[in-house]
């Protein structure tokens, strides 16, 4: 039978356990590792969430391009993380005095004398460690994708992603999760409100500035909304992102430790729900209409907001964090529009603003263990470096191969311009915008 066969094969060289010598350590590792693998594939599915959300909130004529970008970024993210990212992010600063930059070498391979039972205290294997982090890395570049959608040049964006996710994201991550200088200072960022979301958000801001607004978005000083073409897709995206967040936050416990993981589930869920409710309330009052796109963004806002402190804040604090996030996202969207920063999916409001808010909120709600000052320091440090490095990459690309498609291509749609392919063949669609 299948199981017997594989058992036989596994005997050749792979670590494994016979029923006879079953140990508690092994079962413990299996349990923890199973959870971490589940968390890993949950973060994976967030990429589908990002892809459908971005697609739904943009115009049909750019759909192929957006799906392509998202598929490409995922592949690039995983591959660059295997090539260098993982070893840039976890260079094992412990022995070094330099806590700012280090690199543990190319490629991935378990450390010498690797024993799955003791690696990471039996909480997961080397392979899980790599893959869970690799899935995170790819999400960071995806955040930028949404903000520069509908006008960015495909090739340039893919190059940007490879550099940002292959070098800058892991390097910045090493400061905290890699045990670097911010870790030493006691900066707290549980699952990445700053390290993933606001880092991605600041890079997105750089991209938005460099690439400029879409044609027709700001006309004679007025904001002309450019409506998304498929709100069911956008809703699918948001629900999948929330779904995947259980892996994103739940997996960031880095073991299956029951009480912590389940508490994180509760704070995550309630912050998201609170974000939905406050975004609905505020937008209903504000624009007199219950705005679906705001309700959807509200949940993401709550999720980003709670991500920094999901492990330490109380249930009540999580609700407050979510409520505030929902408010931030509604006003954030209008705020960036006022600055003529054109962000088709609201990535700046969701990831940048709520990422920063969530990071600071940990200090506000858990002052005994986390210092607001250090949180601010971390938020600013990441902001500056992420923003400037992204600005630099985009600037170089702009002056070499260009980062924006031609006006003609933008008007006709990137699908035909960049890909010679249409997303909804046969459907009769107005492309007046």
């Amino acid at each position: 039978m299948k199981h017997l066969l594989f058992m036989a094969i596994l005997l050749v060289g792979l670590p494994q356990v016979h029923a006879a010598e079953l140990t508690l350590e092994d079962v413990n590792l299996r349990t923890n590792n199973t959870w971490m693998l589940v968390a890993t594939f949950m973060v994976f599915i967030m990429h589908l969430g990002f892809a459908t959300l971005e697609t739904g909130l943009t115009r049909s004529k750019n759909t192929v391009n957006i799906l392509f970008k998202n598929s490409g970024v995922l592949a690039i993210g995983l591959m660059t993380y295997a090539i260098c990212g993982f070893n840039l992010m976890y260079p094992d600063f412990t022995d070094s005095t330099n806590k700012f930059f280090d690199f543990a070498g190319w490629g991935i391979a378990p450390p010498e004398g690797y024993d799955p039972l003791t690696y990471a205290n039996g909480n997961y294997t080397y392979w899980t460690d790599f893959l869970f982090q690799a899935m995170f890395a790819a999400t960071c570049a995806t955040i930028v994708s949404g903000a520069v959608a509908e006008r960015v040049k495909l090739g340039s964006f893919l190059i940007f992603s490879a550099i940002f996710v292959g070098f800058f994201y892991p390097w910045l991550g090493s400061w905290k999760w890699g045990g670097g200088w911010l870790e030493d200072k006691g900066f707290h960022d549980f699952a990445g409100s700053t390290l993933v979301h606001s880092v991605g958000g600041w890079a997105a801001l750089a991209g938005v500035i460099m690439v400029g607004p879409r044609i027709g978005k700001y006309v004679n000083g007025a904001v002309k909304p450019i409506m998304g073409h498929n709100l069911p897709l956008a809703a699918i995206g948001v629900f999948l992102l929330w779904f995947g967040w259980y892996g994103f936050n739940g997996g960031s416990v880095l073991s299956a430790e029951a009480d912590t993981v389940s508490r994180v589930f509760v704070t995550t869920s309630l912050s998201a729900a609170a974000g939905v409710l406050s975004a609905i309330a505020v937008s209903w009052i504000h624009s007199r209409k219950p705005d679906l796109t705001m309700a959807l963004n509200g949940s993401l806002a709550g999720l980003v907001g709670v991500t920094a402190g999901a492990d330490v804040v109380s249930v009540m604090d999580a609700v407050v964090i979510g409520l505030v996030s929902g408010v931030i996202v509604v006003f954030g969207v209008s705020f960036f529009d006022k600055l003529k920063l054109d962000d088709p999916v609201g990535a700046l409001s969701v990831h940048l603003l709520c990422g920063v808010w969530g990071t600071i909120a940990v200090g506000i709600f858990s002052p005994e263990t986390v210092s607001v000052g250090i949180q601010l320091l971390g938020a600013v440090a990441y902001a500056v470096v992420s923003f400037l490095s992204a600005l630099l990459i985009f600037a170089v690309l702009k002056h070499t191969i260009g980062i924006r498609v031609s006006e003609e291509e933008e008007l006709g749609g990137l699908d035909i311009g960049e890909h010679g392919m249409e997303a909804y063949n046969g459907f009769q669609i107005f492309i007046t915008q």
Binding site: V223, K224, P225, M227, G228, S283, H286, S287, R288, K289, D291, T293, M294, N297, V330, V333, S334, D337, G346, F430
Partner: protein, 113 residues
């Protein structure tokens, strides 16, 4: 022969078809259209910003008829489409020089019906 083009409210289609059938006008072609007339537009909201929409969803019906049926057809369309509210629509009548049935090659009045 005339070609009658009617713009109506989409949800009146069934009533119009019914009225036409009762008057033995059974051939027609329908497309969707966006229309701008006396009917005021409305406001949409998208992510906090306001959009004025003044191209409203309408149906466009095209009916080729022989002279004796022109007035019947117009009356039938009106009886099916009228609700008395602004936006009920409009009918355009044009001269039709010729009509050909592709299958048989018949032309003129024979082909219309």
């Amino acid at each position: 022969m005339k070609l009658i083009i009617a713009y109506i409210q989409p949800h009146r289609l069934n009533a119009v078809k019914q009225a036409l059938y009762e008057n033995e006008v059974v051939k027609m072609s329908v497309t969707t259209a966006l229309g701008c007339g006396q009917q005021m537009g409305y406001h949409e909201t998208y992510r906090g910003a306001d959009i004025e929409v003044n191209l409203l969803k309408k149906l466009r019906i095209e009916i080729a008829v022989t002279e004796p049926y022109v007035q019947t057809t117009i009356d039938a369309v009106i009886s099916g489409a009228r609700t008395g509210k602004i936006g009920d629509g409009k009918i355009f009548v044009m001269e039709l020089s010729d009509c050909i049935r592709i299958r048989t090659g018949e032309t003129g009045e024979d082909a219309v019906g």
